[in-house]
Subunit: 355 residues, 3 copies
Amino acid sequence: MPTLAEIARALSTEVKGDGSLSVDRAAEPAEAGPRDLAIALSPKWAESLPKGRAEAALLWDGADWQAMGLKGAITAPRGRLAMASLSAVLDPGHGMGEGIDETARLGEGVELGAGVGIGPFSVIGAGARLGEGVRIGAHVTIAAGAVIGAGTVIHPGVRVGPNVRLGARCILHPNAVIGADGFSFTTAEPTHQELSRETMGEGEPPVMADPSWHKIHSLGGVELGDDVDIGAGTAVDSGTIRATRIGDGAKIDNLCHIAHNVIVGRHCLFAAQTGIAGSTTIGDRTVIGGKGGVADNLTIGADVVLGGASIVLSNVPAGRVMLGYPAMPLARQVESYKALRRLPRILARLSGTGS
Amino acid sequence: MPTLAEIARALSTEVKGDGSLSVDRAAEPAEAGPRDLAIALSPKWAESLPKGRAEAALLWDGADWQAMGLKGAITAPRGRLAMASLSAVLDPGHGMGEGIDETARLGEGVELGAGVGIGPFSVIGAGARLGEGVRIGAHVTIAAGAVIGAGTVIHPGVRVGPNVRLGARCILHPNAVIGADGFSFTTAEPTHQELSRETMGEGEPPVMADPSWHKIHSLGGVELGDDVDIGAGTAVDSGTIRATRIGDGAKIDNLCHIAHNVIVGRHCLFAAQTGIAGSTTIGDRTVIGGKGGVADNLTIGADVVLGGASIVLSNVPAGRVMLGYPAMPLARQVESYKALRRLPRILARLSGTGS
Amino acid sequence: MPTLAEIARALSTEVKGDGSLSVDRAAEPAEAGPRDLAIALSPKWAESLPKGRAEAALLWDGADWQAMGLKGAITAPRGRLAMASLSAVLDPGHGMGEGIDETARLGEGVELGAGVGIGPFSVIGAGARLGEGVRIGAHVTIAAGAVIGAGTVIHPGVRVGPNVRLGARCILHPNAVIGADGFSFTTAEPTHQELSRETMGEGEPPVMADPSWHKIHSLGGVELGDDVDIGAGTAVDSGTIRATRIGDGAKIDNLCHIAHNVIVGRHCLFAAQTGIAGSTTIGDRTVIGGKGGVADNLTIGADVVLGGASIVLSNVPAGRVMLGYPAMPLARQVESYKALRRLPRILARLSGTGS
């Protein structure tokens, strides 16, 4: 277990008070014992310190740790960044070791870098190339010819399809699916949906001689940059003739859907259940809240922020902060919500005065 | 196959007519054969009885079963409750037997209660403790040290991560993921998203020297109470420094997302594709319709009802019934929908009169 | 590799220019090399041809291929349909061969048609019947008694539950779950949710002696027609007393939820993250955009189109094009969006004039 001084060093800061205190784990202030590091990054959290028995805490910059009765403390100007370093120090890791399990199935010509680990019952297709230190959990399938960058970690139950290239240090969380078929179908004649774009939905459905959907096969695969996280159960579909692409450093949460031909920029962050429809491009550093959705064939600029559950139906210029369904710039959307709330009373008044 | 009298006993009621009738299965009235129990819990459903050949039926209290030409019947004051008992009697079960499959992989020091069953190719991490009668299907992974309460059933393809404790009699449906990493990231400098809370989105995106996302590791794990159901493909993320918690008797449907640090109360019911963002607390007995969403760091009281696809962006007091995006109390939301529908005509009139 | 003339034949059209050109793959115009077929189905796409080195292209009908400096071309009156044929010609296939892997586990009495393939570590329950040419990937579980039609392809990690019948030529994408328990629960006494239908949410929550949820077991299974696609991670729940049904030719994308007792018509198309709640019926050829939702116990007619993220809370007649939450006919919804956008200014004016 690290000492307080060791943790301070990992956080590139100095310890206050007794640096020799040993830290078993991080804990909420009210639940912290004498060998825990209480996490109290704001005065509100620090209020609960007396309910626990912490002797050391991670506090905000300028906090009066001695007045809190602590024996030692670390303070941080940006608490969540300190939490990132601290949690990395305390994380015992994913437990996937080096070495190829005897039940793992490797196809012909698989290339393994130094220190690769492959878990029980996993199946690696012919000609796949796994970079140095790649770790693959149990029950993973990797299609033939996949390329997996050094240090990438693939959790149990992940499915990697054909024509997939993963960068270095990616993390694929359990049961994610990379490189399934894109959902791309067409009919012999125009459908009601196609026709209704012109008629604003007022036309009659066509009588189709053959309403069968013909599949447009996905030949393009998927390319993930370096340091990409893909959440549990998330699906990233194969592109049609070029790869679906996710840029370096992008982080995608659980149960998201990234459709065929989508391009996701570098350092994007998409919260859970987000969906990006086919052939849409998302600029660098764009952040999408949970349940966000972007329609197909759109261009979303860099540095865009979409609030939770926003649904985007048209292009968005760089830097915009958007909310709602359909998404509008935040300030206008909030104005419109307020107006809508007043509306029933105002309509009643208008009726009342006969206007 | 049970007789009508045996079924009546399981439903704690008395049979009407011939209790010796043998029942092969439950069936819809129009499709019921002479050895089926027709399910006709309302007069509307009973109308279809003549289309089938049922001789026995499950009916509402007070139904005139003889006038329907039946030989026997069971009546129930609360039909769906009767269906629960009836369907349990007729369910042949999940088919996972006792015993450890020869291909299952058990780590060191795994503790198994009496009557445990583990299916083919499943992998149980070192030191995991499986209570009496636990049943685990094929292709399941359980991380080291997990604790699984007596009678819990884990279907194929489920992933149980580190620091997970499951109560007794839980059911984890296929491909669910319990205890994946929480989606918790931060940057060295404030992001556009952070800054835009103060500017209502009107400010310029900051130029960041380093736009990389630093992961806050998930050390807290997950705790499920007793009698919790987790749907197919649903993901419950690990907490940061304490466990993500789901209370006794909570039922969560398919493809839901429960983020890190969330607390779900006892006897909650969340329909499919619901998402609860990080660090939100949901009170006991709260019911969320399909595709419901709750933003992060909120407190939702007990006995709240969220209608289908409601998106909650602020705290909700106990007992409220809410609908919409953003969610509002049901009656006000419906008023607002009605007003919005009238609005185009009213605006046109206002323009017309030049006001 | 096919020649241009061979591809033209597969597309039932004639080649223009040099049919002997060999085609390695399809490519976007700007990225196409001399042995690629550039896909330029509109003048806009053709603008990028000079950036690449394509000598052959797939163009729209009437395109002046010679003016583009190409040596050969194929033109198509309906580009996406041509893409379907072309991509099928160029697709190397899923790579699942004939034959039963030595690690696959087959239960008693499994019946296998000619040419069946079963991948590593898959588990097929007793009495299951697999039609001619069925291909099953790695880590698949098929419950006892399942019936799988000829030519159906089941990708890795798919879970097929009890009482499931799949038609011919279906494709189940990775980690899909067919036939999990329906999410059907009831309480001994009426819940707040039930009571609030009458009170519009204004009543107090009842004090329940027992708030436990009683499960209504799923005995009905699932029936898929022929040529049904089920996307990655999608869940189709078992019906209560009759099967949940999906009609011939229906295509369902990733991470969709089809609840118990739902009936989906023939040739429906549901984009990713769509959810259909319990006991709802959807007519033939209905198309639902991504993140669409339909509440329970509704009837949606044939040839309905629901725009992206539409949430349907009441029945929809055949042929309607709907958008929004709650969904309204498209033209009215767009009118209402426009009015809402004008509303804040109008309300401000009304206040200003004191009216």
